[in-house]
Symmetry: C2
Subunit: 416 residues, 2 copies
């Protein structure tokens, strides 16, 4: 394993990672400094592709830090009623996350213990670089029914309402906890979730999990906006990790927002959005472009020439996705999207079980996803081709400050 | 899109791709020449990561060509009884495969047709490099019950027997046809299968499909043997694409093997092997190493120091996986393994639905997978931790020779 060395200079790969924002990275994100590892070769390329993202900071990594290529997201149910045991688990998880994000196995040695004991680490990531692994924890509404936390549930952590067209499966919905693992290699992301689940055995159990891929592509050398599985560029006007003002305004919980333990945190909405791929693929190009309000090849808004030209919303059909979702049509509402495409084999009818695993971070769900989705679920032309089948919401606490800090300390500490 | 330019010099990435064989690539595989694309930057790195693998050759690409990072495998049921229509589909598929493996969209233009028509290509791979995409077709036993093909079914294409411990799910088993799509970017592999399914609409339907990842890692700069989800190195003594003698002996159907239309082809066995991850993770290191017959960290056989040291089989437990599967213990039986790890979320019991999607190519299934699996299914200590839940076997025809040739021509041509 290589040692983590901090640097303020983003690598070429880190620049590529920002393709989703369409903006080259000029400085690292405030409070989420990106630490890059030389990964042996010392080249910028190797550092970016295989390097480590700093685990500590005012905010958790995995929100404003550059988007990696692959995702393994897991929601957990809590199985213990013992607060001390649960706090112990959060501390153990933090220690493991600190090591894994630095490219180290969970145990002090690679296999730490004795031959008679199970290995400290499951081993499949041994010899791999950190691959920009980030691990981000969130607390679901139902967690606050436990451990005497009822009075500490944030008002902003509301249960999501039922939206028109929702067809939620219980087995893909909810969760007391979540961990979002992102990395450039799926083996590294899967390894991380698996080891956290292993450490949590008997105290938590995986409720559901989701793999995602391909919103960005490490194998494509040019920075460009990635395409979703409908073939359209997606994320053209997303918030970039460099835009500290927009992050402060739309993503991070401020000091006055309350409760105090959430300052520097954010709220995460996860939605599994199944796409009716086969229906879409038999739809005319004109209809597809009308539905989105952009042209398919360039991603330019209707009537404009370039992807990044300001959209003229009134030129689009009233039900066009971009027109309905644009901040100008929603009193400025803006969310940070960090979703991934998924393909989970085939359903019983020979259709691909594919779509978008939508992940959005925001300062307050009541002024972010909920009003946006109320509007989209009622009017968006895209609804003919998609269905929301899974849903969850989480309070994402602030970052782990230093080696003594741990996930959730501000929530569980008596003095906070 | 870049143009494909042939070269005999493998790139650095191509060398890395051979990590599974533990042997640096000295020359390209016979009959499956690797064509690399400059991908704009002209560097060896970009060429290898984003380049094109030549579609034409004596053998299909995707067997002896370097292993890519990601897999999307689909089995299809045939829905038409019209032989001419099916042959037309095979020709259309070949044309689409020829273009997609070169990094081009399916249609002549990116979206070819008129605004009133569905696009020729679904678009999500537009702007991406070929990412070493290979597409490999196979014909299942049930295909030969159709189209007057009964007399042309190879004797070597046997229905697999039921092995002890098999727990096969119908929805993951069998198929009239298969296509194996491998690429370094999952978006490219998924795009290819999806577009073939789209072209086949009404004539074929996807029966089941499987995504796979991580037997190699493009983000890891050092060539090394990849690890399976049990944390052990896997594929140390696999056949390398450079070993033309071993390929001729164990993988390619020879001229005298019969039938003629299969000369230069191979036989593929696909098995979805679920791993009981949670049980394994609570097993002692000693037990894990006894089960495999190798040490976990280095991959060295019992009693040896290095991964590539010749194993001393008698030093291993009689039920050790390596001891049972080794060619020396099986009259020299050798298969070319090309499997991928998978993680498909969670089962209803909170356990990861994860394991190995096993793909093995061989000259004759009766002298390859079947005798090996008879032995392993009866004696392998690993059986306590795995279960075979999906199964299929396919005759993989020879390569497409040139721009006029098409998948299955040798099978469907009257004169052949």
């Amino acid at each position: 394993m290589t040692e983590v060395e901090e640097t303020r200079r983003p690598s070429r790969r880190a620049l590529i990672g920002w393709g989703g924002a369409g903006i080259a990275l000029g400085a690292v994100a405030a409070g989420g400094a990106v630490a890059l590892t030389g990964a042996g070769s010392g080249t910028a390329d190797a550092a970016g592709a295989g390097g480590a993202v700093e685990f500590h900071g005012a905010h958790q990594a995995g929100i404003a830090t550059p988007v990696q290529d692959r995702l393994h997201f897991a929601a957990f149910d809590v199985k213990t009623d013992d607060r001390e045991e649960f706090v112990r688990l959060l501390k153990d998880w933090t220690a493991a996350a600190r090591r894994m994000t630095a490219g180290k196995p969970v145990g002090e040695g690679a296999y730490g213990g004795l031959p008679e004991a199970p290995p400290d680490d499951t081993g499949e990531a041994l010899g791999l670089t950190p691959c920009r692994l980030t691990l981000t924890i969130g607390f679901g509404p139902s967690l606050f029914d436990r451990f005497g936390l009822r009075g500490r549930r944030p008002e902003a952590l509301v249960d999501l309402p039922e939206f028109p067209g929702d067809n939620l499966e219980k087995t893909r919905t909810g969760g007391d906890l979540c961990v979002q693992a992102c990395a450039d290699d799926p083996q590294v992301a899967v390894h991380a979730i698996r080891n956290l689940a292993r450490i949590g055995f008997g105290k938590v159990a995986v409720r559901w999990s989701q793999l995602g891929f391909g919103k960005t592509s490490s194998t494509t050398p040019d920075a460009q906006t990635p395409r979703n599985l409908f073939g359209f560029k997606d994320g053209t006007r997303n918030i970039a990790g460099t835009e500290t003002d927009r992050l402060a305004k739309h993503v991070w919980v401020g000091d006055g927002d309350g409760p105090d333990w959430m300052s520097g945190g954010s709220y995460l909405v996860a939605r599994r959005i199944r796409m009716n791929i086969e229906t879409w693929d038999r739809t005319s190009l004109q209809e597809q472009e009308d539905v989105f309000g952009r042209d398919k090849r360039e991603g330019a808004p209707v009537g404009r020439a370039g992807e990044h030209d300001a959209p003229f919303l009134k030129a689009m059909k009233p039900t066009a996705h971009v027109r309905l979702a644009h901040p100008d049509a929603n009193s400025g509402i803006t969310i940070l999207r960090r979703g991934y495409s998924f393909t989970d084999g085939t359903d019983g009818l020979g259709r691909l079980d594919a779509g978008l695993f939508f992940l959005a971070y925001q300062r307050d769900v009541r002024h972010g996803f909920i009003p946006l989705q109320r509007k989209l679920s009622a009017h968006d032309a895209l609804n003919e081709y998609i269905q929301h089948v899974g849903s969850a919401v989480f309070a994402v606490p602030p970052g782990v400050r230093d080696a003594d800090d741990w996930w959730g300390r501000s929530l569980f500490s008596k003095e906070a």
